[in-house]
């Protein structure tokens, strides 16, 4: 039980209008693993990820975070989310705040760090990704790759148990994809638990410990990159990967 950060049981998400984005999904995210979720557009992979930190409210089913049922209404949703970082496709930096303030806002406001601790931590993280000189700039003055790296360390500043990535490179110009992927790779090497939704199949094959292939709201196959990408014994997966690789 303690091995798993997330445990998902019978997860169903039905959007208004009756579209079933997730159809009875069972899965787990294990501590320290790098999990990639791939699949065709509309297969429910982003919805699955967004359900994990409850940005989407599941229609039914349960999600356990470190053994606690977070879909229970009595659970403190803000406390829970503080332990789960999220990186968005469109970065979603706060344009009204400096880079430094973008990083320190949440740790300070949620009481996870003091102002001084948060500031030191932000500076440390900024130095680590080589953007310390952008400390007092505003997001609009940054390139896409820089923005996404800031978004990643903004999530890291909360000291989360797991990081969720929702197509982190899809909105980037091709020449900026590399810098974001290499930062992610670095985090993976350090043992950060990560769940990544992506279209970068090659990257997934290289970095992933485990891969989910999703289609029509269900996890069709899961396993190591070898099992899922290179030699899938599932016709839909075979067809998909033959097209994208």
């Amino acid at each position: 039980m303690n091995e798993n950060i997330f445990e998902v049981k019978g997860l169903v998400k039905e959007f208004q209008g009756g579209v079933k984005a997730l159809n009875n999904v069972d899965a787990e995210v294990r501590k320290g693993e790098v999990l990639f979720i791939v699949g065709p557009s509309g297969s429910g992979k982003s919805t699955f990820l967004r359900c994990l930190n409850l940005l989407e409210t599941p229609t039914s089913g349960h999600i356990f975070f470190k053994g606690t049922d977070v879909t229970d209404k009595k659970n403190n949703i803000n406390k829970f989310r503080q332990q789960v970082g999220m990186v968005f496709q469109h970065f979603n930096l706060f344009p009204n705040l400096t880079i430094h303030k973008n990083i320190t806002l949440a740790p300070v406001k949620t009481g996870r760090l003091t102002a001084k601790e948060a500031s030191d931590k932000a500076d440390m993280l900024l130095k680590r990704i080589g953007l310390f000189d952008k400390r007092d700039s505003y997001p609009s003055q940054l390139s896409g790759g820089q923005k996404q790296r800031i978004a990643i360390i903004r999530a890291l500043a909360m000291n989360p148990d797991v990081l969720l990535f929702d197509e982190p490179t899809s909105a980037l110009d091709p020449e900026m994809v590399g810098e974001v992927l290499s930062l992610m790779k670095e985090l993976a090497r350090e043992g950060m638990t990560m769940a990544v939704v992506t279209h970068e199949i090659g990257f997934a094959a290289e970095v992933a410990d485990r891969i989910f292939f999703m289609d029509h709201g269900q996890i069709v196959i899961s396993g190591t990159p070898d099992e899922v990408i290179r030699n899938p014994d599932n016709p839909r997966a075979k067809e998909f990967f033959s097209k994208v690789l």
Binding site: F80, V84, M86, F88, N92, F94, A106, Y138, R154, M158
Partner: protein
């Protein structure tokens, strides 16, 4: 925000306390002081036949007299609603009015007469039907003409109607006999029709609930009639009035022929008339400023409730009330709201009129500000809220730190526009007899019978304030833009 609301609360408390401290009981008289010689303004005070008689009655009965100047349309309502004790504004006794209030014994018999231009083809009252007639809104002349002749053009006061006649906008003016004499002596090229249109009696109006006061008034009035005091007061003011009118006549004829400098002096310098504009300007600024603050507070709260309800489905019941508020306030004219707040909601309270105006315009502006804020909040990409929430911030933390600062910046131009609209809307304050900038211009107009200078001056002052405000908003916008 909190500091604002405290400030407003303190201010209202101050205003409430400041009204009246005296051991003598108060008697409030209401009038529209644009009806010489019955009531008119000299400098800051209201004088005339009606104030003089009422002052004598108040002294005899042991009251402290307070005179309020308001529009004639409202004086009877003011007495009915208990805002005032007696209306004394050259009010003609009519059957309709008798249904609403009690009249004292009449103190004067007056006539409605017809003024036309010298060269007018109108010679008898029968001719009137074919021509454009001007009246003062709500007067007996208005009632009579509407009922028996035709739909007249209604003016806020007699002076304006005469001005319109002189400038050719009207063919005839139906007006009370006394002020008619005054206007005739001031303006050349006018004459009276030989036969008056009607003959009528003037009396003071007192609430039907206040029978004791009516008896007291009648007793003193009858005494005054018996000992000749009433006659001497009326005669004194009539004589005095023709004298000042003669003065004005000289000034006026000069004005028409000599030019701008004299006109300027007449309208603004003479009798320190610029003070009407200056004081009015201060009142306008005061009302606008506090109404804006109140509007901001209300608008902010309503917008927050509305957008939270829309985005999260919470606060269904407060949201319902907010929607009602928006519908009602945005669906009715601000003048009507102002009058309702003054006469209905605060009907029986002795509350400062400036405060009433601040409340009325504040509530009104709040509705518009709320929708501006809401549009701003909802224009912010929902990824901002998601990013905040995903970091573990609560809904309201994210609102406060992320969404609202961005929304505020986006709606600043629209907010600035709303402030400008509000500033200009306060020009209807005159309806509850507040002497704001517009009313200040009106008073000058009623004294000099000149429409051009007072109106242009008022317009220029509004314009100057608006230009100043716009540049201020522009600077603020620029400064906020820099932080991006």
């Amino acid at each position: 925000m909190k500091r604002f609301s405290c400030f407003i609360f303190l201010l209202s408390a101050l205003l409430l306390c400041s009204c009246g401290k005296s051991d003598k009981p108060k008697l409030t008289m209401v009038t529209e002081a644009t009806f010489p010689p019955y009531e008119f303004r000299t400098g800051d005070k209201v004088d005339g036949i009606d104030p003089a008689i009422i002052r004598h009655i108040a002294d005899t009965l042991g009251y402290e007299l307070k005179i309020q100047d308001m529009s004639f349309d409202s004086v009877i309502t003011a007495v009915q609603s208990g805002k005032a004790d007696v209306a004394a504004s050259g009010i003609t006794v009519t059957e309709d009015r008798k249904k609403q209030i009690n009249f004292t014994v009449p103190y004067v018999t007056a006539q409605q007469v017809v003024i036309v231009k010298d060269n007018s083809p109108i010679h008898t009252t029968e001719d009137l039907k074919k021509y454009t007639i001007g009246v003062q809104h709500g007067t007996t002349g208005d009632l009579f003409v509407t009922k028996n002749i035709k739909e007249p053009q209604r003016f806020a006061n007699g002076a304006l109607a005469v001005t319109a006649l002189v400038s050719g906008k009207l063919d005839a003016v139906v007006i009370d006999g006394e002020p008619a004499q005054v206007y005739l002596s001031q303006q050349t090229g006018l004459r009276l029709l030989p036969r008056p249109l009607t003959s009528e009696e003037y009396a003071f109006a007192i609430s039907k609930k206040n029978v004791k006061l009516l008896e007291d008034f009648n007793r003193v009035l009858n005494e005054m009639k018996a000992n000749g005091l009433l006659d001497s007061i009326i005669r004194k003011y009539k004589e005095q009035n023709t004298e000042t009118a003669a003065d004005l006549l000289v000034e006026d004829s000069k004005y028409f022929w000599i030019g701008v400098k004299e006109a300027f002096e007449l309208n603004f310098i003479k009798d320190k008339r610029y003070l009407y504009l200056w004081r009015g300007f201060l009142v306008t600024l005061y009302i606008s400023f506090f109404a804006v603050l109140m509007g901001l507070v209300i608008g902010f709260v309503v917008a927050l409730i509305r957008s939270t309800a829309i985005q999260t489905g919470r606060y269904k019941i407060p949201d319902f009330f907010c929607r009602m508020y928006l519908t009602v306030i945005r669906g009715t004219p601000v003048v009507v709201q102002l009058l309702i707040i003054y006469f209905v909601i605060f009907g029986s309270w002795d509350i400062d009129k400036v405060l009433v105006a601040v409340i009325a315009f504040g509530i009104n502006s709040g509705a518009y500000v709320a929708e501006i804020f809401r549009a701003g909040i909802m224009s912010i990409d929902k990824g901002q809220m998601e990013a905040g929430r995903s970091l573990g911030l609560s809904y309201f933390q994210t609102m406060r730190e992320i969404v609202i600062p961005q929304a505020f910046k986006n709606v600043l131009p629209a907010l600035g526009n709303e402030f400008i609209v509000l500033l200009k809307e306060t020009s209807v304050s005159g309806y509850i007899a507040l002497q704001d900038l517009t009313k200040g211009g009106d008073i000058i107009r009623s004294q000099t019978y000149d429409a051009f200078f007072p109106l242009i001056a008022v317009a220029l002052i509004y314009l100057a304030v608006v230009i100043f405000l716009s540049s201020l908003m522009g600077k603020l916008e620029k400064r906020l833009k820099e932080n991006e």
